[in-house]
């Protein structure tokens, strides 16, 4: 389980520390407040426990700065900049928390020159199953993508290659336990079929036959992706799920299902990190959680005076402040009232 992240002079962050819920963590905030950066940094720290890459290399591949110059991840300002990102996780078996830190300067040419410190050995030795779902769907584009990516012929953030790898993991042996079966059933009902793959190509298998993913609505592809990740055992007790803007291309009616699945995964022991700009997603969580659930809303915003990024975290939906999503609707409401009322009351 990931407990905390700290940034100093790293990408968009001057200085920021965020403490996480062992259950669901939802990042909201306007564009450019670092929601995706936070997700990518935590994901990189999780992935290296399986891929055994160095933290510096993984972060560089995931953020993909120009020319893969790791130093370009230092926060931009005049002069020489030293920055770091530090992630803290809980090792339940050992009953202790450990940290890993990547330090860099704006002069760091490549990941080999960056410094990784903290309990690096123990971090790598204790595997953590994690998956990052990027904004753009990749399943329809899976055929051939992996081989092209491994030949380094295409310029893609590594999260896009990683998600395809996770999808192609073999399915779990043995019978599916009842919780997972319940989740798979919910998804199958919503998408009216299940997913099969042939030679790196995915199809939705339904009564009508096999439909290739390129012909499926993007929203259905998202459900299918979740189906595969649950079915093949990527999302199990102890796994960590990162999802950048689940609402993208999703019909609002499907959001209820998505949120239901996410809450159930959390109850199974999956730690979840997601970003959203969407009122319906946020409200669905508010309506569907109960006292069993652990959820924290993290609102990232720019301080009015310093203009630096700050965070306000709360477990209570009504206490989210600032709330960029609500403010957007507030602006619409005010403009509609002004249109009706003219200059009355002013």
């Amino acid at each position: 389980m990931i407990e905390k992240i700290k940034f100093e002079k790293f990408t968009a962050f001057e200085k920021l520390e965020v403490n996480f819920s062992p259950g669901i963590n939802i990042f909201i905030g306007e564009n450019g407040t670092g929601k995706t950066h936070a997700l990518k940094a935590i994901y990189s720290a999780c992935d290296i426990t399986k891929s055994k890459k160095s933290f510096a290399e993984k972060i560089t591949k995931v953020f993909l700065p120009s020319g893969e110059q790791t130093g370009r991840l230092a926060k931009r300002s005049a002069g020489s900049i030293q920055g770091y990102v530090e992630v803290q996780r809980r090792i339940e078996k050992a009953d202790k928390s450990i940290n890993i830190r990547l330090s860099l300067s704006n002069h760091t040419k490549s990941f080999e020159n960056a410094t990784v410190s903290g309990a690096h050995k123990q971090w790598i030795e204790t595997p953590l199953e994690s998956v990052y779902i990027p904004v753009k769907d990749m399943m329809a584009n899976a055929p051939g993508f992996r081989s092209l990516y491994s030949l380094r012929n295409i310029h893609f953030e590594e999260v896009y290659a990683d998600i395809i790898d996770r999808v192609f993991l073999g399915s779990l042996k043995g019978p599916t336990d009842s919780t997972r079966k319940k989740l798979l059933d919910i998804l199958q009902q919503s998408m009216d079929g299940k997913v099969v793959s042939k030679n790196e190509e995915f199809f939705l298998k339904s009564k009508q036959g096999d439909l290739e993913f390129t012909l499926l609505a993007e929203g259905i592809r998202k459900l299918a992706l979740l189906w595969v990740l649950i079915q093949n055992g990527t999302l199990l007790n102890g796994s960590i799920l990162f999802w950048d803007e689940p609402e993208t291309n999703l019909n609002p009616r499907l959001m209820k299902t998505i949120v239901e699945i996410l809450i159930e995964l959390q109850r199974m022991g999956v730690q979840i990190f997601l970003t959203t700009h969407d009122y319906v997603i946020l409200k669905e969580f508010d309506l569907q959680i109960d006292e069993r659930d652990e959820i924290i809303f993290h609102s990232l915003y720019r301080d009015k005076e310093s203009t630096e990024i700050c965070v306000a975290s709360t477990a209570n939906y009504l206490d989210i402040s600032p709330n960029a999503i609500d403010d957007t609707f507030g602006d619409l409401v005010e403009r509609e009232i002004r249109q009706s009322m003219g200059d009355k009351g002013q």
Partner: protein, 161 residues
């Protein structure tokens, strides 16, 4: 003109008159007296060129709108209150200026947006075939305290303990 409802205090700085329309105090000259058969908005405020009908629902921290039935129920209540108040004011011969309906409902902004759309649909401002020669309400809006204070700087609301 200061008017109070629950813990909310309204200051209508440019009002000619204003009073609690659903007054339950028999000793008051504004005693409503027909509460057994008619719904009523909370305040009526007179400006130089219009009347404001004002209805207040303070749903802070209430999960009331988690289902559509309650949501539609609220819109119906708002419509009925307007209509009954309109009839009452017509009988008083106090419909000589255009009427604006202002509902202060303490809900989050996306809900306000949805509610305003539905209220405008259910409280029609004109007829589709142009039979009406004037609207029953020239404006019909819903605001929460934050948006109210943002758009009506001269009619500020504050919370009193």
């Amino acid at each position: 003109m200061i008017l109070e409802e629950g813990t909310l205090q309204f200051d209508f700085s440019d009002a000619l008159t204003g009073f609690k329309f659903d007054e339950q105090d028999k000793a008051s000259p504004n005693f409503h007296g027909l509460s057994h058969c008619m719904k009523a908005v909370d305040f009526v405020v007179e400006l130089d060129d219009s009347y404001l009908f004002i209805e207040i629902k303070d749903y802070r921290n209430s999960p009331i709108f988690s289902d559509n039935a309650k949501f539609n129920g609220l819109v119906k209540i708002l419509v009925t209150k307007f209509r009954d108040t309109f009839i009452y004011r017509w009988a008083e011969e106090k419909t000589d200026k255009p009427i604006k309906y202002l509902c202060l409902i303490e809900l989050e902004n996306p809900m306000i947006s949805r509610l305003m759309k539905e209220l405008k649909r259910q409280l029609p401002q004109t007829t589709p075939n142009a039979r009406w020669h004037k609207p029953v309400a020239v404006a019909c809006i819903i605001a929460n305290v934050n948006s109210w204070n943002a758009v009506f700087p001269d009619w500020q609301i504050s919370r009193i303990q």
